[in-house]
Symmetry: C2
Subunit: 211 residues, 2 copies
């Protein structure tokens, strides 16, 4: 049983409430972090706040793959040495970073910005699926080029499987190879916590998508 917290200062309370609104940060941690920031030099607190505001205000998304980027086209999509006919579909930029860290993938990406989740109220139109369909269609319609490949690299839970199936149905008619990650990972495991060896193997040993 805890009595309601009484803060000695409204400024402190505002900061604690703001920090405590972050996912996974409780009130006690928020107070600890607020008091930590209060003890830091003024310029480093300003730098802290500025870097967050600038991220929110100025971050762009690559017009090819929808990944967060400082330019209109991200460094991966503008790298001509990569295989632009292989598109790895991921939920978010964390997954791109995880796969890049394996050093096993040389194609490009498509960042969905989430996965289909009726519980969270996220439908296909909230994601970048139509842009993906457009990319795949235009790749597949290029005369004389080899068949493009789409790797569905989504988490192995119900939402991930649903999203993979939805995308498969949208693109399977275009003459495109659709594969999914080899599940060397335990079924239901979250992509971002996989170790690089397992995740790298899953990329190399990807399998044709069986709906």
């Amino acid at each position: 049983m805890t009595l309601p917290e009484k803060y000695p200062s409204k400024l402190l309370e505002d900061a604690v409430l703001a920090i405590g609104s972050l996912p996974g940060v409780g009130k006690r941690s928020a107070l600890r972090l607020a008091l930590h920031l209060l003890r830091q030099p003024q310029e480093s607190v300003h730098h802290f706040a500025d870097s967050i505001v600038r991220l929110r205000d100025d971050a762009k998304y690559c017009r090819e793959c929808m990944m967060i980027s400082d330019e209109d086209t991200c460094s991966i999509c503008s790298d001509r040495s990569r295989d632009h006919r292989t598109i790895c579909v991921v939920e978010n930029v964390r997954d791109v970073m995880s796969i890049e860290n394996t050093g096993q993938y040389h194609g490009v990406y498509h960042v969905l910005g989430g996965i289909i989740s009726p519980i969270a109220g996220i439908g296909p139109s909230d994601l970048t699926i139509s842009a993906l369909v457009g990319r795949v269609k235009s790749l597949a319609s290029e005369e004389g080029s080899p068949e493009p490949e789409v790797i569905l690299a989504l988490s192995g839970d119900v939402e991930g499987e649903t999203t993979s199936f939805y995308i498969y149905r949208q693109i399977s008619g275009f003459g495109v190879k659709v594969s999914s990650l080899a599940r060397g990972l335990g079924f239901g495991d979250d992509l971002e916590y996989a170790d690089e060896l397992t995740l790298g193997r899953s990329i190399v040993g990807r399998q044709p998508f069986k709906p």
Copy 2:
């Protein structure tokens, strides 16, 4: 073994480094929090950053007890119904909030702003000990008033005990009663994690300080 992280965006990297500089926040959590903030409405991210900057820029310290406060004198020190001849000496404002939450204490406080720690390079002059000595001296010299009391409510570890002993030597000559918290708490326990019942009992059952 983790390869060095490569961020797709400098803005993202800056924000992750800033968030990851907070104590107890690792790089992976920092990335998660940065991407969370990126998904929030622009005005709530601005509010988040503003509340932290305002805390750092505008927070004052009570000129009596040195606690963080929006006014020159905090709400506890300006409350005439409290016992201004009993001063509870604590490390920081979190400890004030913990003791206030017990509802067992009706005196005033003195916030040291830390404890003496040779390892962390914190000496007596980095704390508000001289201001405390001044307060106690002036209380004790008031003609015809009862003997004031100083409660040393510091953590039960070596640094806390050292600080208590240092303060005791500074003020014991003034004709002041010096007490310390009843150690119903386990020896070496950190003050802020104590439950309110135990902490409340420690306030009520405080004992004369035996150096």
